[in-house]
Symmetry: D2
Subunit: 330 residues, 4 copies
Amino acid sequence: MNSFGRLFRVSVFGESHGEAVGVTIDGCPAGLPLTEEDLLTDLERRKGGKQKGTTPRQEPDYPLFRSGLFNGKTTGFPLTILFENTNTRSEDYSRQRSIPRPGHADWVASQKFGGHEDYRGGGHFSARLTTGLVAAGVIAKKLMPDIQINALVTAIGGEKDLEKGLQKAIDAKDSVGGIVECRVSGVPVGLGEPYFDSLESLLAHILFAIPAVRGVEFGTGFAAAEMFGSEHNDAIEDADGRTRSNHAGGVVGGITNGNELVFRLAVKPTSSTPKEQESLNRETGQVEKFTIRGRHDLCVALRAPVIVEAVTALVLADCMLLEQRIKKIF
Amino acid sequence: MNSFGRLFRVSVFGESHGEAVGVTIDGCPAGLPLTEEDLLTDLERRKGGKQKGTTPRQEPDYPLFRSGLFNGKTTGFPLTILFENTNTRSEDYSRQRSIPRPGHADWVASQKFGGHEDYRGGGHFSARLTTGLVAAGVIAKKLMPDIQINALVTAIGGEKDLEKGLQKAIDAKDSVGGIVECRVSGVPVGLGEPYFDSLESLLAHILFAIPAVRGVEFGTGFAAAEMFGSEHNDAIEDADGRTRSNHAGGVVGGITNGNELVFRLAVKPTSSTPKEQESLNRETGQVEKFTIRGRHDLCVALRAPVIVEAVTALVLADCMLLEQRIKKIF
Amino acid sequence: MNSFGRLFRVSVFGESHGEAVGVTIDGCPAGLPLTEEDLLTDLERRKGGKQKGTTPRQEPDYPLFRSGLFNGKTTGFPLTILFENTNTRSEDYSRQRSIPRPGHADWVASQKFGGHEDYRGGGHFSARLTTGLVAAGVIAKKLMPDIQINALVTAIGGEKDLEKGLQKAIDAKDSVGGIVECRVSGVPVGLGEPYFDSLESLLAHILFAIPAVRGVEFGTGFAAAEMFGSEHNDAIEDADGRTRSNHAGGVVGGITNGNELVFRLAVKPTSSTPKEQESLNRETGQVEKFTIRGRHDLCVALRAPVIVEAVTALVLADCMLLEQRIKKIF
Amino acid sequence: MNSFGRLFRVSVFGESHGEAVGVTIDGCPAGLPLTEEDLLTDLERRKGGKQKGTTPRQEPDYPLFRSGLFNGKTTGFPLTILFENTNTRSEDYSRQRSIPRPGHADWVASQKFGGHEDYRGGGHFSARLTTGLVAAGVIAKKLMPDIQINALVTAIGGEKDLEKGLQKAIDAKDSVGGIVECRVSGVPVGLGEPYFDSLESLLAHILFAIPAVRGVEFGTGFAAAEMFGSEHNDAIEDADGRTRSNHAGGVVGGITNGNELVFRLAVKPTSSTPKEQESLNRETGQVEKFTIRGRHDLCVALRAPVIVEAVTALVLADCMLLEQRIKKIF
């Protein structure tokens, strides 16, 4: 199903080359001041287009509110936001149909949906659907003014000097992966549950919904596997639960402990590499060489931070409502 | 909430020092042959006790079916399985109350539940609740005889030679973390969805529900962040979707592609290290030195594989039912 | 939350005087042929406008598909359908604000949503949101070509002669209630579950979501309370489960038995009666006489049958998918 | 699925002649004082046994808490309560297998579950599962000390003089149906939502889960279908929303308006009538006469009130939590 969240529930719909993509947010408290302009900064961040390594293609990302707003405030009913797809030239997708692109969903989608999926430009799998997530994220952030969420690219192609990592890709005429780190301060103690609704579970669930994410780790993460217990344990130092170190990344037993929430994601290199590739031609039954046309991001990790912040905000807003830390009437 | 799954839904309950822990499985097709004995092998694996590095404490893990079985087969109604807690000496937990153990949920639980939580031995946070997951996992595995799920510890304390890693911990009189890798063969094409119900999302959700898991990665995972697209992309080679390499770990666009499903988890060192530690004494308001008593696993990663297999089976059974690949009457 | 359904899930959004109302259908199998024209007959039935007793006001009910369709077939991804609100004159709602209309949600909505609700013309409470239900119902019906669902008004104002019942209301210059009966043939055995997901539970849940419904009964319904067991029991007569009588209305133990599914609804008289009424004036604090302006249905029950059919189809499609009686690829 | 509720979620399990029946309550706030004794009064009411018209068979209804309680208070984690089935003589059910009882689920269950269901004494369909609902209802009631829920049988066999109605059944040597009315005072304004989660939808959903319920109506209910709008509308009289009449039964637009909540249920006559009946013998393929043995309630409506109160409490507690009117720590 295309929905996520318990009390703050987000549903996405749309295909990249259909009429529109969009999002419905159900469960947003009534009375939150909101304008289309509020969304533009984060939507702009998602688009990239000015950053080196992101595609210059401009997408028409203006949010059209279709419900849930009245007199400049949320009504307490579902907010539906559309992003119309105006920039969709009627290209020739027959080649993509016959040669499923490696790293893309072309082949699995046609198997799963019997060839009925909208295969143009990725269809429902397209990263264009993250516009809805980003829009919803802005709303979630506004509900939690005391929480600061900041995601950053911390490495590209294994290089912490990002320029260098990108240049490597440019030189190689190839796409490249990266690491995104997210830090959240101002998180109250007590969000999340033991077991299935651990905060890590909820966050990892939606982080892995972001296209191209291949790994998620909290606190010291994979490095914890190489540590001793006495090194990893964070000594509690005061009545507010502040810890001397923060190897846990702010979550213990599935529950936030009031320290900074810290996690990282691995983003794979853009599947649409400029390099020549090989794949099965379904018509001939032969493996063929081919090249993906058009302009694509060299490093999709560069677009990820605003999406990571958004989905983090969605999870936190949901938990905050559940803990009665956001009022039903804002 | 303490439930997980859409059509094959598992709910856990219980506290480690209360009457019992247990699990309810709702949505299991009718007609599956099942006996208590079927569960014993995996329950035994979970217990450890014979392995170096796991605690010799024997837990009473005999499964008591309380519903959902008739004439040796599942009825199609909820299966409730209890594990009674017979081995629970009435110890003195007052010290644990005053000094919340680092790395454990003691402090966050008392904050979140107002001190009403059953704090004895971890209560509902205890790894003892994974008995229910393992039991449910056996049932899920039986529903999918063509799928093979194998999880292994691949590193301890950074050492691929596991004996060596463990010896390091024994020598240091400390606990130590590890890496678990899971490989699944026989997975049909088409499990999972784009976005929120991506197979990675579902798996990561429940993998992070396992106590002590700090990171999850699929396929090449974090290493993908350092690769070029031309390296990472897996060329499709035949009409069954077999790929030349398997950097994707068997999932593309959130959907299984029929290749081996591969993922890894980082398990932190056991929080109950034998080493002396420091934490706040809530009564004195001072940070104090203290030592955790009793026998504890040096490396909880050693117990994890059977739990990882179980929760993987739960997710796959759920997806298989959703894709109508398991019949309602088995 | 504004969603309903487990595998065939319908979500509504919108306000009657906002930009649009609409519906998202998630879980519709891929490959179902569908055009906007398919929806028009049922949408026309919902509008009324030609029937005596329904308002002549024409609403702009043309369905705009925004996602989920490609090459004239469903893609397997969410279908979002919009109905734009073009006919919304900027009326003066200040009087409605100060005097909450009896029988309407004006007062409860302002209490619950802190005055932030869109109060114009009923807002999210408006029966205009049933356009989305009707649209979704058409799609559900198309998924089940072997099932025939027919709902009819069987009484108006206590009169089985409907003309007579309506004339009573016209003569009295008042609105009037009615009874709707729904009969479904071709229902397979085995839909529904004991207890919480009984077919009656699922149907009643969504039937009571239709504005103005005050009672729901299955089979002999309330009359069963006056019967002896030997009268009410339906003798099973053959291996297909056909029963001699059908007092159960086709559902036993929460599960369909293959006989005709029969249920009835009580629809209250339109709250917007032409008669003078009394209510509190919130500004003066006094109870005042007032009259509702504009054209309104004398008997909303007349518009209900197509909505009843639609929501019945939604429940049945959901159960049929759950029982694996509709394939994932149509 | 055998669960109900969003934030206060109840799951039932068990078969009448298996090991046990039981209930798990997930989402109960921490800190509620609770003992097994608290449940006994309502469990006793459910049993009947002293009332004319109910079976003298005593069931072993002592509640065994298996989780979620500590130091006499709820912990905030799932409460699992078992009722062991000690009184289950190993009877001969072969006759019931061959001749499915009219009005019972015997035939539909065997069709739906392929003959794997536990058919002894109704199995999972047995009214014995309502013990869990009653237990959960007591807990829900305790969470809402300001709300009074009272359900009563108001008619038996069409007679408001209940003795007379029952005597009719005794004279006829037949079972008989009845009407149950429930009135709830102290309900705050604002519970329930428009459309799918209307309070009527939620209540009707779970009321129709009670075995033998055939109709549900709110306020004037079916009588509303015969009324004029000017009669049915309830004039609002003061700032608290008090209405002159209460035809709406306390719910408008799906939301409570602070007036008394009133609804009624039709309960069919006990399917196990003492009268000789006819049904198909599945072995011979012939319709045969047969008589149901054993002691059965003449009028199951007599046992219904405490169950109706319980499920009403479950819905209200769920809504109260959702509206943040019950704190997470009680």
